[in-house]
Symmetry: C2
Subunit: 345 residues, 2 copies
Amino acid sequence: MNAKNSSMTDALKWTGTQLQVLDQRVLPEEIRYDYYNDAQGVTEAIISMRVRGAPAIGIAAAYAVVLSVKVHYSEHNSNWQQQVKADIEQLRGSRPTAVNLFWALEIMNKAMDVENVSPIASLEVLAKKIHQDDIAANHTMGALGAELLIEAKGVMTHCNAGSLATGGYGTALGVIRSAYKQGLRKIYAGETRPWLQGARLTVWELAQDGIASTLIADSAAAWLMKSGVIDWVIVGADRIAANGDVANKIGTYSLSVLAKQHGVKVMVVAPTSTIDWAMVSGEQIEIEQRQPKELLNDCYLDEHSLVDAWNPVFDVTPAYLITAIVTELGIVLNPSEVNGVKSLQ
Amino acid sequence: MNAKNSSMTDALKWTGTQLQVLDQRVLPEEIRYDYYNDAQGVTEAIISMRVRGAPAIGIAAAYAVVLSVKVHYSEHNSNWQQQVKADIEQLRGSRPTAVNLFWALEIMNKAMDVENVSPIASLEVLAKKIHQDDIAANHTMGALGAELLIEAKGVMTHCNAGSLATGGYGTALGVIRSAYKQGLRKIYAGETRPWLQGARLTVWELAQDGIASTLIADSAAAWLMKSGVIDWVIVGADRIAANGDVANKIGTYSLSVLAKQHGVKVMVVAPTSTIDWAMVSGEQIEIEQRQPKELLNDCYLDEHSLVDAWNPVFDVTPAYLITAIVTELGIVLNPSEVNGVKSLQ
């Protein structure tokens, strides 16, 4: 299976009539797209984690609304908006933590309420704009973030905040791609248990682009930092509170505490669509708990088992542990000292 | 496959003519013993990680020397000691970090040099004594360590420092077993990538004893600490330097740094056979690097792959991050403040 053609690795492809979703659960062994013609299908694709990554989830949801309008809209159906709103409610329930999902659905929902003679066409334009804006934002963030890395010896990333997690190019990996062009070579990726997004997606995605990287066990990160080879941890975000606290993949908080103790800096890269202005602090962010079976051997899954698992999928990193939040509108340095991310509003 | 009979879960069984080694690579799905009649076989069992855990490796090596003497000794072979010493050299090369291996081999080697009319019998007695002393030490440490946990709400352990890693009862898990008897109920185990000793061995071993536990991803430990449910991290050790620095499974250093930042205490439980008095500090301890393939998908294993892995199997925790070192000779509190572990010498 070879995927040198970069268009093959898009997480999402919109054909005009359907959304094609790369099934990220089977990477890197298999490159397989599933095709969806309605919002129910896309909802299931998000729940099942065929598509993951906050920006990609938001984009998929926007296209799902277009599919819903295509299914329900007709001049003779005065009820189509209610039917689409029911689909939107389903989509809202697919994952709780990434705010881009709710952000994209809100944009689509509002647009649908505007009097319009051709809602299908205009909503499709809007979904495509959300998608294209995300790619453009990633390129902007890539350039901005790379400026902070001019003197970096090495970096580490966690989970996958790459092309696969976004409309394209990536947030954290967008910065790493841009920094690679200016000479950065030491790039480490944490495996990111339990889904192994680092091992399955990040190192694969970088290799597709000709960028060499080194995988480590998540618990080796502190020892790596102590060895002195990295000076930045670079991650994406699922939700950023107004005070600069960041919800991201479980382990990000751990890395941020460890980074502080080792003089390593922490960069969060996310479009402003990831900022939840209504959240005063990260303490209010709902953290998704996933099934114990993601961690447990099958022999522990019966109800009398003495072995359980605690499986939060995200954690919250307080702003004081973050060196820089990079968005498409600019960089916030030391967010805890400058009133969070308010300067971006 | 049911192993309620605790004798079934011994890592090592000595029959008098052979060493039976539980293949820990196939747990918990399968309980399978491999039988060894010579030192070469036991060397391979250590290299292949059928047997792992510093004390268990030392005990296996002691029995391997007995097997070697059985093979080579006869009244007519004046060269038998050289032949056994060659086997000992092979055993010394099997794993580099756990000092119990070298400690046990040194005891057996010295005993062999003593003029003796029945070296097979006396060396067998010695190997069995090393084994029994380890079990006794674990029970002593269990009682001593549990005293520190009288008021503990919850604990976390890493890797497997249990019955499977020792002669029996366990070091860290020995303390947890003893604390369980006095009422401790919240017990968390980290998965411990890449070999998953926590997920495959620790929670299984505890369940065999009727003790419930909760598995977490290694990178969730910081978030668990932040939630306030644990007040101790309890681990074993592969080598302790004279100043109290501790080499143990990769991730122990990470947990210790995180523990310090969260007001969680760190207990290291190890018999004095794990102390390397010749090592002034942990910086001199050789850290075993294992194959990248333990972390990498098969598709990255060809020589042109852009994906590599950094796979240190141990790390070193400086003494100042350790609250207590529990040995069979007593507890050293705050080793960095009391001249390391010298009080035990």
